[in-house]
């Protein structure tokens, strides 16, 4: 995938581009509205990760330009302010999704992939980790052809793992993915343990491969066979 990262904060900018590259994408960057507009005019991107708070203006300008010239481009908005106005305005203008800073990289990856799936792949969308196949748009999954009976939260969890396959995911980010702001009411992450345990059991029932590896003291990792 060809991505454009529009972010003025250097550390974050470099980190995002690096992360995207390590996932196998092409990631270009812009640090100002002017730079971003230039790039958007010249090139086509599959998706743009767009920060709203830029030194020479608002990312909304870039969003408008993208929607005018290349409306099929997926747009994920980032912002340090979690003001409702920005969020609503961005989504109204046609952004696909919105993330407030600071965010977990895995969360960004997950949402980006969701945007890809929705925009770029027509017809059935599948995530394949033979023998596990997931149909994100249909909220179902099969193992070796047999349907998996998963609760909504379990499916969410599995999808999050799958879209971040091979990545160590901390309990914190898993909690925040599943429960958002409520995550901080869950003191000891026991619930995460419970959900993962159940999910694992259901996966193992159908197949011998333990997709989910525990990283003690940290979290979990999804490993494809």
């Amino acid at each position: 995938m060809k991505l454009l990262i529009v972010e003025d904060e250097t550390q974050l900018h470099d980190l995002l581009r690096q992360e995207m590259r390590s996932l196998g994408h092409v990631a270009e960057g812009a640090r100002t509205v002017a730079e971003a507009l230039e790039k958007v005019d010249l090139y086509r991107y599959d998706a743009v990760i767009l920060d709203i708070g830029l030194p020479d203006g608002s990312g909304m300008q870039v969003l408008r330009r993208i929607k005018a010239h290349a409306p099929q481009t997926g747009v994920l908005i980032l912002s340090a302010k979690d003001s409702l106005d920005d969020k609503l305005q961005g989504l109204d203008l046609g952004a696909d999704d919105y993330l407030t800073k600071p965010f977990h990289t895995a969360e960004l990856i997950s949402r980006l992939k969701a945007i890809f799936r929705r925009r770029n792949l027509q017809g059935r969308v599948e995530l394949q980790f033979e023998p596990l196949v997931m149909f994100p748009e249909e909220n179902r999954a099969t193992m070796a052809g047999m349907a998996l009976d998963l609760t909504p939260k379990e499916f969410e969890l599995l999808l999050y793992f799958a879209t971040n396959a091979g990545r160590v995911l901390t309990k914190v980010e898993i909690a925040e993915h599943l429960w958002g702001d409520l995550a901080d009411t869950y003191d000891d992450f026991d619930f995460i343990y419970a959900h993962v345990k159940n999910l694992r059991k259901k996966l193992l029932e159908k197949d011998g491969w333990d997709f989910i590896k525990t990283i003690y003291g940290v979290g979990y990792k999804f490993i494809a066979p």
């Binding site: 980190l15 979690d82 965010f103 990289t105 702001d181 009411t185 990283i215 003690y216």
Partner: protein, 424 residues
């Protein structure tokens, strides 16, 4: 006691003492004057009689009217001096014996060669009568004066002290975070003008300091977001490195958890400043029951995990004027607290009335300290992962929307009650 009352009472007290002393002095002086008059009169009379007696012989003595005569022994020495003194005479009045005051003058004189003692007398006006007369004269005067003074004082006080009372009212309503600068009344009275000047200066300073402090907290929290974001992102990337030992990974995990707390505290502080800034000021009639239900739905899982039974009753369907975002946060925070601080297999009871919402939960903790409850970073359980800002935010929200929050601990239930403004 009000200033006016004090002033009036003091004035009356002083006046009363003054009048009493004056009255006493008047009576004394009048008494003395009367006596003096009488004495002069007697002296004059004595001189006349004496002159008359010098011309006549002894036989005339018998016929003197108003004079008590007493013959002295022929060889008695004549006392040349004239004696004035007080005496009394008795009078019977309806069976009662009265002693009435007299002033008598006594002298001795030879008449026709024979010595005699003479006494003339005057009745003094009864002191009682005098006193009565004076009092009857004075009392109405005093009363009238007192009344007039009181009326005058009251009238003048209202006008003179108005700037002061206005200043008091302004101070009472003063809030450092108020939108408007307080305005203190001008006055031609020196002291009140001084007061106004000083108060104006003082409140300006308080507001200024408050703004600075607030801006600082806001800026600090805002600035912290970026470094926190960077640390978090880099640690998460680091975690993916294959060069780490298990111990390394655990350490990084611990760092990320601590960072999460930092992030949440920061977010909490930012939220507090936003609420204080009245950034969420739009109010619309908002039905409360759906908000509660929505939160209960999203927390159902968590509650089930802890085995908490939830009793939710809506006895009414109030829709007070509220800001949707703040209300969401308010109810969300309270419910989350109620679950978090609950013990396993505990109870959560929510009851919505027409005028208030009760949220009650069981807990292992005993009654909370109501005074400290809403302070920032006050945590019931110091070890818990919470930010300690939940209730501070709740309190700030209530203040922003004009709601009243109260806490009670009864029958093992910690109950928070939110009262809405009564709609007409």
């Amino acid at each position: 006691m009000k200033l006016l009352t004090k002033t009036t009472l003091l004035y009356w007290g002083a006046s009363l003492i003054g009048f009493l002393i004056a009255g006493f002095l008047v009576i004394q002086l009048m008494g003395q004057e009367m006596r003096h008059e009488v004495d002069e009169d007697l002296a004059y009379q004595q001189a006349e009689i004496s002159a008359f007696l010098a011309e006549v012989d002894a036989a005339a003595v018998v016929a003197l009217p108003m004079v008590t005569t007493q013959a002295l022994p022929p060889d008695a020495q004549i006392d040349p001096a004239v004696h004035l003194r007080d005496s009394t005479y008795t009078e019977e009045d309806e069976g009662e014996v009265e002693y009435l005051p007299l002033r008598i003058l006594q002298w001795q004189q030879t008449v026709g060669g024979k010595p005699y003692a003479f006494t003339i007398a005057r009745a003094l006006l009864e002191q009682d009568d005098a006193l009565e007369a004076i009092l009857w004269a004075m009392v109405p005067v005093i009363l009238a004066l007192s009344l007039l003074t009181a009326i005058f004082l009251r009238f003048m006080s209202q006008r003179l002290w108005r700037p002061f009372r206005e200043s008091l009212a302004v101070i009472a309503a003063f809030r450092p975070h108020g939108a408007q600068e307080p305005h203190f009344p001008a006055s031609s009275t020196t002291e009140f003008a001084q007061l106004t000047a000083i108060l104006q200066q003082m409140t300006a300073k308080v507001r200024h300091d408050y703004q600075i402090q607030k801006a600082f907290a806001e800026n600090a929290a805002h600035e912290l977001q970026t470094p926190i974001a960077i640390v978090q992102a880099k640690l998460e990337t680091l975690l993916q490195s294959r060069a780490l030992t298990d111990k390394d990974m655990q350490d990084i995990g611990a760092m990320l958890e601590a960072l999460q707390r930092m992030r949440r505290i920061n977010q909490g502080l930012l939220m507090l400043t936003k609420i204080e800034n009245r950034q969420f000021s739009e109010m619309t009639p908002l039905p409360i029951a759906p908000v509660v239900q929505r939160h209960l739905a999203s927390m159902a899982e968590l509650a089930a995990l802890k085995g908490i039974t939830i009793h939710w009753k809506a006895l009414a369907e109030p829709a007070p004027l509220l800001n949707p975002i703040l209300t969401d946060l308010l109810i969300g925070n309270l419910l989350a607290n109620a679950i978090q601080h609950n013990h396993p297999q505990g109870r959560l009871e929510i009851c919505l009335h027409a005028t208030h919402l009760d949220i009650a939960n069981t807990s292992e903790a005993q009654a909370l300290d109501a005074a400290q409850l809403y302070q920032r970073f006050q945590k019931q359980d110091a070890a818990s992962q919470g930010t300690g800002l939940g209730l501070a935010i709740v309190k700030e929200i209530c203040e922003a929307m004009g709601l009243k929050i109260s806490y009670a601990f009864q029958e093992n239930l910690h109950t928070f009650t939110i009262r809405f403004a009564i709609q007409n």
